[in-house]
Amino acid sequence: MVAKLGSGTRSKLYRTTWLALLALTVVMVLVDSSPIPRGAFLAVLLPAMLVKASLIGANFMHLRSERLPLTVMVIVGLLVTGTLLFVLIAPDAVRIRTMTPYR
C-alpha cells in the first residue's frame, strides 16, 4: 500500500503529519499550563489526543490506504473496545468516590 503513493507525495504527507503532530503537542502543553476551566481543558485535550492518534494511524501506519475490513478490525478492536472499557467502569468509580467508608 505504501508503494501506491509516489515518493514525493509520501515525503510531503509524512512531513505534514509530523508538523501537525508537533503543533498539536505544543497546543496541548500550552493549554495544560493555562488557567482555563476544567471542562474547556478536557474539550481541547481529548479531541487533540484522538486527532493525533488518527493521524498516526491513517498516515504513518497507512490505515487510510488499507482495505476496509482491516481498518474496521483495528478501529473496532482498539478504539471501540477501549472506549467501552472506560465508559463501563467510570460510573462505578464516581459512585465509589461518593460512598461513605465502612466503619
Binding site: S7, M49, N59, F60, R67, P69, G82, A93, I96
Partner: protein, 201 residues
Amino acid sequence: MAEAAPQVLERWSGGVCPFEAGWRKVMMWTFIITDGLLFAGFLGGYGYARIMSRQWPDQATVFDLRLIALMTFILISSSATMASAVGAAADAGRSVLRWLLLTALGGLLFLGMQAYEWTHLIEAGARLDGNPWGDPLFASYFFLMTGFHGTHVALGVVLLTTVAVRWAKKLTSHEGVELVGLYWHFVDLVWVFIFTLFYLV
C-alpha cells in the same frame, strides 16, 4: 436472517485473504490490537483509580512538563523517520539504513530521558507502594504504565537494529521494514494516550 451481500460472501468464503494483505501484516496488526488492549486495560484501571481518588497529586508539581514534552517530540520525530524508512524501502532506496538508525537513536534518547525521569522520581521518594505527593496508586500507575511502555520502546530499538542489519545484508525485504514500522508507530500511538491521560489531564 438476511442473506449476506454477495461481495461479503465472496470475500469470506475461503481461498482469498479477506483483508487483502499479506498474512505477516495481518498478524502484526492482530498483535498490535491485543497489545493495545493491554494498554487500554492499564489506562482504564488508571482512570478508575484517578476518578475514585480524593487525593490524586497535581502532575505539574511532580513532573517537569518540559522534559515530557521533549520526550514526546523525540518519539513523534522518530515515528516520522520510521515512516520515511518504510517509504524508502518501498522504493528500494539507499536511505533506508539511515532512517532506521535515526529511528533507533530517537528510541534510545527517549529511553535515556525516561530513565532520568524515573531516577528523579525514585530519589524524591516514589515507590511502587507509595509516594510523597498523595494517593499511593499514583506512583504505582506511573511506574507500571511508563515501565511497560519503556519496555516496548526498548524491544522496538532491538527490532529496529535487527532489521537495519538484515536490510544492510539484503536479508529482508520492504515488508520486514514495514512490519517493524507498524510496531514502532504503535509504540508512539500508546505514548500519545499516556502523555495526554497521565501527564496532562
